[in-house]
């Protein structure tokens, strides 16, 4: 039985497309609605980030609900950085009550990177423990302390995986740990280093993980070689091969080249054993998403 369209698509063996929407910095509801309307139909579900990069934004719950109202299926991200187990359970019960089904459990970017580096973080739970807690609520019908939930939340649980972080071999073990904890789908860090990603997938497939979880590979369109360099040098846990930087640097129209690169990557990813979908993160370039999925031939 599926509780969400994303689950239905993945469980039926179809190639899933998800895409990221960064909630606005303030109450710009109309702008979020416009983005949602423009993206409707170009992905099966849309991730609403949870104060990404530790910058204050509209909550992922509120922006998920606004997307629901516009007819988009949300994937609500929920970090362990800002909430203890009481708040996480409460927010997820509330989200499910409002119609949100897909929840992505992540530890969250450290607050040092954001606009409030002075803040105290929480980390009562880590992302694996968050999965354990939410799964118990759904499957056992109790909250983590064992108290019965007369109407448990309906959830499709997701996790993140970063094949480009270290130590490399442990990344597959960590993916297995997340599956053990309750992850049903996994969205990966953006793939620019496709060779390393293929090695990761080979190890995952060897362990049979692709049969226990749906792996959705991340992609990112880049507008210039400077964007690629920024990710190479400034973003933790990214692997950007020099060939990618060079390709964008030498292009006469870097923007078009970036689109081509992203489309090619999505097509390559689709042919890797165990990859069940792609996840598009087009930071501040969300309007390119419909073109990307159309050109890659994966429009839902």
């Amino acid at each position: 039985m599926s509780v969400s369209r994303l689950q239905e698509v993945l469980d039926s063996g179809r190639f899933a497309v998800t895409a990221e929407i960064g909630p606005p910095r303030s109450c710009e509801t109309e702008r979020l609605r416009e983005t949602a309307r423009a993206l409707k139909g170009s992905a099966h579900a849309f991730n609403l980030t949870d104060n990404q990069a530790a910058n204050v934004r509209m909550s992922s719950i509120a922006s998920s609900v606004i997307c629901l109202q516009e007819g988009l299926e949300p994937v609500m991200q929920m970090t362990c950085r800002d909430r203890n187990r009481i708040a996480i359970q409460s927010d997820v019960i509330g989200a499910s009550a409002l119609g949100i089904r897909n929840v992505l459990c992540i530890s969250g970017d450290h607050q040092m990177f954001g606009d409030h580096p002075q803040a105290k973080n929480v980390y009562d739970l880590d992302s694996i423990q968050e999965l354990m807690v939410l799964r118990r609520m759904r499957d056992d019908g109790t909250n983590w302390s064992g108290e019965a939930l007369p109407q448990p939340p309906q959830l499709y649980l997701g996790a993140a995986a970063n094949p480009f972080a270290d130590p490399f071999e442990f990344r597959v073990t960590r993916l297995a740990k997340k599956i053990d904890a309750g992850a049903q789908f996994v969205q990966t860090q953006c793939v620019l280093d496709i060779e390393r990603f293929k090695r990761f997938m080979r190890l995952a497939v060897e362990k049979g993980l692709h049969e226990r979880v749906h792996i959705i590979a991340g992609v990112i369109p880049m507008r210039s070689h400077k964007a690629a360099l920024f990710m190479k040098n400034k973003v933790a846990g990214m692997s950007v091969p020099d060939s990618v930087v060079e390709r964008l640097r030498r292009a006469s129209d870097p923007r078009e080249e970036g689109i081509r690169l992203c489309v090619e990557t999505m097509q390559d990813l689709g042919s890797i054993r165990g990859v069940h979908g792609v996840h598009i993160t087009a930071i501040a370039w969300e309007d390119i998403i419909p073109r990307l999925v159309t050109e890659a031939g994966i429009r839902p």
Binding site: D109, M112, D126, Q129, V133, A165, T173, A176, K177
Partner: protein
């Protein structure tokens, strides 16, 4: 040991308004070893305060005194009945015990108490223990993820670990990278297969200020109950 850092002198000076008798109290234990609050540093601070008082005509009567351990009252008898201002060069524990010992004195901090750590080379001190009250070092190759992972993850490393470094700072080793490599060396990687469930944070600071009774060492009822095996 307890690691502390010296407070900037102007900040300390700002705490002394209205004082007349000022005692700079050094401690020969932890803060002496991390070179911020021992006898030498107490004397230096004392000289600086005296000079400031003279130049600014504050009229402070400044002296310094260093005790063996400021956190145990049996070492504080030289302070009996002191009513002036104490600039504590001991850790926050010492400063509070001094205040308890000298209820009429004004105790001000001369150092910032930072963490429980160990020296790394000379003059560098690195946090090792968070005093969380439920030690799991046997599961993590003797490396504490609570104290040494920026997110205190129990099932790490997170996606920001690269080349053995923490995403928060290139100067910080990723504790989980160290744990994975140490367990690999020891042939005990299987320890990482099991997920560590949400922990009980009550033994940590979250159960309120902690009071530990060692029945074996306690006088009176607690020891009697321990002896009788209750």
């Amino acid at each position: 040991m307890i690691i502390a850092e010296k407070k900037p002198l102007p900040e300390v000076l700002g705490m002394l308004e209205g004082s007349s008798e000022v005692l700079v109290l050094g401690c020969r234990s932890c803060t002496a070893i991390c070179l911020v609050g021992g006898e030498r540093e107490a004397m230096e601070t004392c000289e600086a305060l005296a000079l400031h008082s003279e130049i600014k005509d504050k009229g402070w009567k400044v002296r310094s005194l260093t005790v063996e351990r400021a956190c145990e009252r049996e070492f504080l008898t030289p302070l009996n009945g002191f009513k002036g201002t104490v600039v504590s060069m001991a850790c926050g524990v010492g400063a509070q015990v001094v205040q308890e010992h000298c209820p009429d004195a004004r105790v001000v901090p001369g150092v910032n108490t930072s963490n429980m750590g160990a020296p790394e080379g000379t003059g560098t001190f690195v946090e090792r223990c968070a005093g969380c009250g439920d030690c799991i070092l046997h599961l993590t190759a003797g490396i504490c993820p609570i104290a040494r992972c920026a997110k205190s993850l129990l099932n790490g490393p997170c996606g920001g670990s690269q080349n053995g470094r923490c995403e928060v700072s290139p100067d910080t080793p990723c504790a989980w990278d160290q744990i994975v490599k140490a367990l690999e060396r020891q042939g005990r990687l299987d320890l990482l297969d099991a997920n560590i469930p949400p922990r009980d944070w009550r033994p940590s600071r979250n159960g309120g200020p902690r009071r530990i009774v060692n029945a074996e060492a306690s006088p009176g009822d607690a020891q009697r109950r321990w002896r009788e095996g209750e």
